[in-house]
Amino acid sequence: MSGINGSMAHLSDGLFTTAIAVYAGAMVGFTAEYAFGRVGRKLAVAPAPARELVGAGGPSVVEDALPADPPDLPADPAVARASRAERIGWWSVVLCVAGALIHTSSIAVRALAVDAVPWSNMYEFASVAGLVGVLAFLAVLWRLPALRYLGGFVLLPVILMMFLAGTVLYSKAQPLVPALQSYWLAIHVTLVSIAEGALMTSAVLTVLYLVKARHDRKPFGSERLANLAVKLPAAESLDKAAYRVVAFSFPLYTVAIICGAIWAEAAWGRYWGWDPKETWAFIVWVVYACYLHARATAGWKGRAAAWINLTGFGAITFNFLIVNIVVSGLHSYAGLS
């Protein structure tokens, strides 16, 4: 029954803050590449048909027909600027990897400090989910380096969530209460964080899709918005990528809920009891089921389905923030008082 290793917990907090700072640097770099880079320009000229690849075990992603090597372009200042932007992009990837390593060690050190899997409260869950998001993005880059310039859109929500985790949701390292002393904690919460991290990516893609689709229908009046939209991959590819991520996450989320039910049966004497957390997991599941059906129904494809996807992510956010903080129930492990 060892307690908490205070100095290690402290080290973990320091690493966590450092990881946020490094991610922020990478995000600035990615955004710079997005703004000044060649990729968007290229796409804007010829929106090539997109192809889809399924990564090994990971969510599939869109591969736009982007040239692997820069074609021979006349030497003009724009090209010099583009290659600088590309360099910035690659340095951002390096920063992102460094951030992920620091982030991983923050979680590992916290695990050593509490002598258990460190995802038993909101701070720890948000930290793990953020890491899942970053790792998923890096895995995508491994297969499809051309998507690098979208890094800023992935890192922004991750950084926001980690900032929230480190400030409002923070709770100091504590040993597990008896209810959480189960191997189901590792299984159930890991699955939930992977599924929800991936669904967050799907929501980001869906927002980009809606922006792009809106621009395709009626170009934005504001030049700034138009510039942003023009550089995005084709609307159809974004939509398809968002769908593929949900197709990957939905079975995972289903398994996560089933594991939760098995755990609830062992801990609380029933597999399902409409505890607020369970109710919202049900709502999230049903909304994403709606999304999958909507994509197969005439008249619901495209934007209507996209809004259902965002509703689903809204429900996930509600389940994470409001249900943990405002509504009390059996899943009250937020660590906030």
Binding site: V177, F250, W280, V287, L292
Partner: protein, 518 residues
């Protein structure tokens, strides 16, 4: 009849199912935001009291028992019917599709989303055999001959997508049925067991403190398993240095039937005792103070009563003792009290607790004398009705201390024993439900992970297009459902098919050089 048919078609349409599914999600929301009677009756009652007419209105429309409300049931039953109506024809169609041969090749394969073309020196018959072998057994292949002399292959793959889809939905229906069956046959009982001998119980309704049966169990159609929990031999709670709980453990002696041999088991929070058909859970725990009470008539009583924790973090607990005197003598003694495991002075004479760990515990009591029968209004067994009693004194006692009161009454705080609240749960359907859930996941993986795709190969014999031209092979591919990475897969297949084609001998002719370009 016609309207019925239209209504049925409407109900089983995907669009309707989608709306019903969405309604289901929306309908569940109030169930998480408003207090629910089955989960927390006390909170529900106080919410209704606080909100007056609004609260009573919400109550009337079932907002405090959303998941038992008729309108919630209406949504999922409609969804259920819609699903059945949608599934039956789909199963029929899919069975037919499984039995049917792949469709003949379309006339122009090069118009398909994916296509390719190459030449070979083999005859159509020879190359058809090669191609079938190259594609392998994973494709369902049908070979046909066309009047022009060309040979076509029609190949299909990915039937398990629809199979998975149907498995998922059938398993979902099965899961809903199993949940309903479980609800009918289930029962749950709770019982507080004091540590020590002679406090055990057997699995019969009368021995539970609370009992919540499903309909069939309530009607007596379910016979509870005949096991007994004979004794809570030891309850252990351990805490970290900061006072955070670390472990709770109940060591019990039990028999699986009255005549069986007693066995021992440890029940902890995540590890219930699993018996045939029933599970025994450790739900909560608490303290039971022990008193020696000298009654007004001079008799001495020993009493121990479980106190209920009112504060889940400090385990400040409250409870009561009742000792009846002689009938009609109005000399009953009633004691209500607070038990503080680690007492602190809250000021103005009130006692509080600093921690759930026991360190020199204190018992704060109010002692009453008179008639325990009170006004006859119902009240909790952890309190006494003092309406026909007189308070004869109060005291804060530590272990071993005695308070002497009027009429020779005295109260001694002898000590305490822990108690554990055990819950017995019975749901005969839950293991089948798990099987259904696993089938749902398997179906889902097939339905979302597999793609249906079709491939056609047309092998035109040599000289068909023009004299001396070699055998020409055209390949076309089509992915039904979300195309995914089919283009990549098709490119790979095409490469393999081309690789197995015996190359055409270079012919020195101006015409063929032009035609040989693919």
């Amino acid at each position: 009849m016609r309207y019925l048919r239209i209504a049925w078609r409407r109900l089983t349409a995907m669009r309707t199912a989608l709306v019903l599914l969405f309604l289901l999600a929306v309908a569940a929301v109030p169930g998480s935001l408003l207090p629910q009677r089955p989960l927390n009756p006390a909170k529900t009652a106080s919410y209704i009291a606080e909100h007056g007419a609004w609260g009573r209105f919400l109550d009337r429309i079932g907002m405090f028992d959303v998941f038992g409300a008729p309108w919630f049931a209406a949504i999922y039953l409609l969804l259920f019917v819609s699903l059945v109506g949608c599934l039956i024809p789909r199963i029929r169609v899919h069975a037919r599709a499984l039995a049917r041969k792949p469709l003949p090749a379309p006339r122009n394969l090069e118009r398909l989303p994916e296509s390719g073309r190459f030449e070979t020196s083999a005859t159509p018959g020879e190359y058809a055999a090669t191609a079938r072998e190259t594609l392998g057994r994973r494709w369902r292949i049908v070979q046909r001959a066309e009047p022009s002399g060309a040979v076509t292959l029609s190949a299909e793959k990915g039937y398990s997508r629809e199979t998975g889809n149907l498995i998922f939905h059938v398993a979902l229906l099965a899961a809903l049925v199993l949940i309903a069956v479980g609800r009918l046959y289930t029962y749950q009982g709770q019982r507080i067991v004091l540590q020590g001998a002679d406090n055990g119980f057997c699995n019969t309704i009368s021995q539970y403190d609370t009992w919540s049966p499903g309909r069939f169990a309530a009607e007596g159609k379910v016979r509870p398993a005949p096991f007994c929990i004979d004794e809570l031999t030891k309850f252990t709670a351990s805490y970290s240095a900061e006072g955070e709980p670390r472990t709770f453990r109940a060591d019990v002696v039990y028999r699986t039937s009255v005549s069986a041999k007693p066995r021992t088991a440890s029940i902890t929070v995540n590890h219930p005792l699993r018996l045939e058909g029933d599970r025994v859970y450790l739900i909560t725990h608490g303290f039971a103070p022990r008193l020696t009470i000298r009654m007004p008539d001079g008799s001495v009583r020993h009493d121990v009563e479980p106190f209920i924790p009112t504060d889940p973090t400090t385990f400040l607990s409250e409870g009561a003792f009742s000792q009846p005197g002689k009938d009609g003598a109005r000399q009953d003694i009633g004691i209500s009290g607070l038990f503080a495991p680690t007492p602190v002075d809250e000021g103005n004479g009130k006692i509080g607790s600093a921690s759930p760990q026991v360190q020199d515990p204190a018992l704060s009591i109010f002692v009453y004398e008179g008639d325990l029968s009170g006004s006859g209004e119902p009240h909790s067994v952890y309190s006494i009705d003092t309406s026909k009693m007189t308070r004869i004194g109060t005291a804060d006692l530590h272990i071993g201390q005695t308070k002497r009161l009027r009429d020779g009454v005295s109260v001694t705080f002898d000590g305490w024993v822990p108690w554990a609240s055990l819950q017995i749960s019975h749901d005969p359907a839950q293991s089948y439900l798990l099987i259904a859930a696993v089938a749902m996941v398997v179906g889902l993986l097939g339905s979302l992970g597999i793609r249906r795709r079709r491939l056609w190969v047309r092998i035109a014999p040599a000289g068909a297009a023009e004299p001396e031209s070699p055998t020409v092979v055209t390949v076309g591919g089509l992915a039904r459902s979300d195309s995914g990475h089919f283009p990549t897969e098709f490119a790979g297949l095409l490469e393999r098919l081309r690789g197995r084609a015996t190359p055409v001998e270079p012919v020195v002719s101006a015409d063929t050089i032009g035609a040989g370009k693919d």
